[in-house]
């Protein structure tokens, strides 16, 4: 029997998808800001952050309310727990996008443009697809897609490691100043963290579907 308060679960899921879409937008804009030396996109990323934080709080409150007032069990409890952890993952991924935007702004204000010497473009492309797919597998409760996201994370880890090695090499020390190199290493790490959060989201979808 469908109860009148089950629509509240739909509302929570819709909010979760909304925070996912905003996070996806933040990840896309922040990496584009870096790749295209576009300070406007960095600003827009920073502006998105407050609304994402607010949405996370709204989801936490709605979940607390549902647990307290509706006595959920079984898959409903899992959905609530996933909503709490997934919204936190989205919020953390958005924080990483925020960090990328801030560092890009610093590089641009100092150097005028960003030299593209690393595989950050490829990393960004892969990480953004992972976030997009994480939202999609949450909407469609697609176990196969969740597993493929988890698998794809390793490629990003490898790219990040390669970036680190490249940026700390003697050749790069001569090519780019230390501050920019250090900030670029952190940007690469932030993209890698965004992919980690997408992987966590995929694991949460598996938990939602299987309880494991």
């Amino acid at each position: 029997m469908k109860r009148y308060f089950h629509s509240e679960l739909e509302d929570i899921k819709n909010k979760l998808i909304l925070i996912g879409e905003k996070t996806n937008e933040a990840a896309r804009l922040s990496t584009q800001a870096f790749l295209e030396s576009d300070i406007e996109k960095a600003h827009t990323t920073l502006e998105l952050d407050d609304s994402i934080d607010e949405l996370e709080k709204e989801i936490a409150h709605a979940c607390e309310r549902y647990i307290t007032l509706r006595s959920p069990v079984s898959s409903d409890v899992r959905l609530i727990l996933v909503a709490i952890t997934a919204s936190h993952d989205f919020e953390r991924a958005a924080d990483e996008a925020h960090n990328i935007a801030k560092k890009t702004k610093k590089i641009l204000s100092r150097d005028g443009h960003v030299k593209q010497l690393t595989s950050i473009e490829e990393m960004s492309r892969l990480a953004c697809i992972m976030v997009q797919d994480a939202i999609l597998c949450l909407i469609e409760e697609d176990m196969g897609m969740a597993r493929s996201i988890i698998e794809r994370d390793k490629a990003i880890d490898r790219l990040n490691l390669a970036n680190y090695k490249m940026l700390t090499s003697q050749e790069m020390r001569e090519e780019i100043d230390d501050t920019t190199r250090f900030e670029t290493i952190l940007i690469s790490k932030s993209i890698e963290r965004i992919a980690d959060h997408a992987k966590n989201l995929a694991e949460e979808v598996i938990y939602l579907l299987t309880g494991e």
């Binding site: 029997m1 109860r3 009148y4 308060f5 607390e64 309310r65 007032l69 509706r70 006595s71």
Partner: protein
């Protein structure tokens, strides 16, 4: 007992306060020398579900029964002070017709109590004693009330059968339908689901949720999850006193009073 509130939940505010339908002021009530209610003050709002909760003997059922003067049937029952107004009329005033009051304020009891008559007659009976004889009118009201109580589809093909042949949950919904037949504004429910299984309980709860569009519902329940699920506002009674009366969200997520917190979290006593 020392319980602190740990919740960080924000206090919720009512979106649009509804009109007051029941106004209780400084109400004291006793059974002989034993005072059962102490200085109760409460505004019950129209088209809302108000839940009355509290441990056994706290006065919540006594309070409910004061709202349609059911306690008049007990010899030693006495109003010691204060008043209760429904639609601005003091229900304990000298000119009040108690039969009219009870038509206006219907009641559903803990144990379903259908009349030993057919399903149809259970609904039509109240109208018949009011003098309604036309079959067309009676048929219409029976259908409307059974639909209103979400029972029509289950009984429409056996209206002439005995009400005792219905399941416990169906009997309780029949009693709700019977209460609706005399077009009350307020429905009092005294633990209406305590004898029902979870599925029948869920159906009655769904019904309560749907009925509040047209009626004001005041429900006594021992089941706190039920109060949390069905009500807009909750009143917590303890030892005859109204300890806290608030939006249900606030009572269960962030109550003001430590006694309320202790009771709703099961730490009472």
């Amino acid at each position: 007992m020392n319980v602190e509130t740990h919740s960080t939940a924000k206090k919720v505010e009512a979106a649009q306060p509804a009109a007051t339908i029941v106004e209780v002021r400084n109400f004291d009530f006793s059974y002989g020398d034993s005072q059962a209610l102490f200085n109760v003050n409460m505004d019950i709002l129209e088209n809302e579900v108000t839940a009355l909760i509290g441990p056994s003997g706290c006065g919540k059922s006594t309070f409910l029964r004061c709202l349609n003067r059911m306690n008049d049937l007990i010899d030693i029952a006495r109003i010691k002070g204060g008043n209760i107004k429904i639609d601005d009329i003091d229900i304990y005033g000298k000119d009040v017709d108690v039969i009219e009051l009870r038509k206006h304020v219907g009641m559903v009891f803990q144990k379903s109590n259908p009349f030993p008559k057919s399903i149809y007659e259970n609904i039509a009976y109240g109208l018949r004693i009011q003098g309604v004889k036309k079959k067309g009118i009676l048929d219409k009201v029976v259908e409307e009330c059974l639909c209103g109580a979400a029972l029509w589809d289950e009984v429409k093909d056996r209206l002439s059968e005995s009400a005792f042949g219905l399941s416990g949950g169906q009997q309780q919904r029949l009693c709700i339908a019977r209460a609706l037949a005399v077009k009350p504004k307020i429905l009092l429910m005294d633990e209406p689901c305590s004898a029902l299984d979870p599925i029948a309980t869920a159906k009655v709860e769904e019904l309560i949720h749907r009925l509040k569009k047209d009626y004001t519902i005041i429900i006594v329940t021992h089941n706190m999850q039920q109060a949390a699920r069905v009500s807009d506002r909750t009143a917590f009674f303890y030892l005859g006193k109204l300890i806290e009366y608030e939006l249900t969200d606030n009572i269960f997520m962030n109550p003001n009073n430590p006694q309320t917190e202790a009771y709703v979290s099961g730490r009472f006593g």
